[in-house]
Symmetry: C3
Subunit: 153 residues, 3 copies
């Protein structure tokens, strides 16, 4: 199945790609690499999950937020490849930051919400290197922030 078919099979649609609004931009391509800016779990203009995990946001809600961060990042990638996801060679790296209570240790489980979506959508080329860490604070209070590095043709 193509990326678009997999997306539809999962009942998902890509959000519109965010437009540049500041001195930084959603993505930069250098050579065949696209560096996608850190994505927050915005859905329909609202953050899906805020506050530290697990006291203010459950692990399950944070996983869904990680998935949304990845969807938002893929919308940015789509913009870079002119909407043609067959130009995605592979997902190279995912950087996942999880707003965590002190002592919370399940950042990998949270990040899997995004990682598993990438594998579902792209298959083997969706599997990626990853660094998942905790942090005490994120922009706008988001529970998760995810950046992507993607090889394209």
């Amino acid at each position: 199945m193509t990326f678009e078919q997999q997306l539809a099979a999962l009942g998902l649609t890509l959000p519109p790609a965010p437009k540049p609004v500041a001195s930084y931009i959603p993505a930069v391509r250098t050579g065949n690499l696209v560096f996608v800016s850190g994505q927050l779990p915005f859905k329909d203009g609202q953050l899906m999950a805020t506050g530290p995990v697990p006291s203010a946001c459950s692990v399950e809600a944070a996983q869904a937020a990680a998935r949304q961060c990845v969807l938002n990042g893929l919308a940015v990638v789509g913009d870079q490849v002119g909407g043609d996801f067959s130009r995605v060679v592979r997902i190279v790296r995912v950087g996942a930051f999880v707003q965590s209570d002190d002592g919370f240790t399940e950042q990998p489980k949270v990040a899997n919400g995004g990682s598993e979506l990438l594998q579902q959508l792209f298959g083997e080329p969706g599997r990626h290197a990853r660094a998942a860490v905790g942090t005490n604070a994120l922009p706008l209070g988001a529970s998760v922030e995810i950046e992507l590095l993607v090889e394209v043709r």
Copy 2:
């Protein structure tokens, strides 16, 4: 205007590039990419801002610190391009870590202190992908640490 003219117009000068002092070094070039090590807001040998934002360091002071981190990083880049900033193709990525009180959410505003300087100095090629996150602790107690990824020719 050239990079040097923009720098002068802003009343800024680049500090001397730091020399390697340990097992890690200020930057590594691979292909056309220069990875610059995380920079602290040193100015004239002193940290401009320490402690968490906003309880120990105001947002405004942290923005100035972010700007200084970027200046220090550009000094490193200058060393890599033999002082010829016309060899900078573009700024690819900025990674910004802001020492944050729990619940602080304005890391993007802090990071803008550095991002806006890059846009002022380089114009469109200064716009970059970015991940800005909070953290509870940084080296030497610095309020901000910023790393750069730059494409050069």
Copy 3:
């Protein structure tokens, strides 16, 4: 001395490379760059160091943990180069996350445990760009997590 000779001279052996167990994998190669996933200080299946530095884990223990993270990352690199470390052109970047008590400021000293090993093993090509930061929480409670970026041929 070769990498293998240096390793032996230090009385070290590489652990077996971890196998992919999830939607993310130990490393991805794109072009001549190998992005290695964030490594935890596992030794013989156990985490060597857990909890924040310095209250639950001393600086010295965290340095040893950083060294182990690097060893584990090099095992992954070995898998990528078919066990032939002469194919490592250089270490490009090290990202070090140190689980830190609020106010802890010696993340560079901790990260040096890994950085110095890289220099010992590879010499000049082992010197790398680095970002070392603190964080309040890491996967499984590990005291240190380190990711590597390596240029290979």
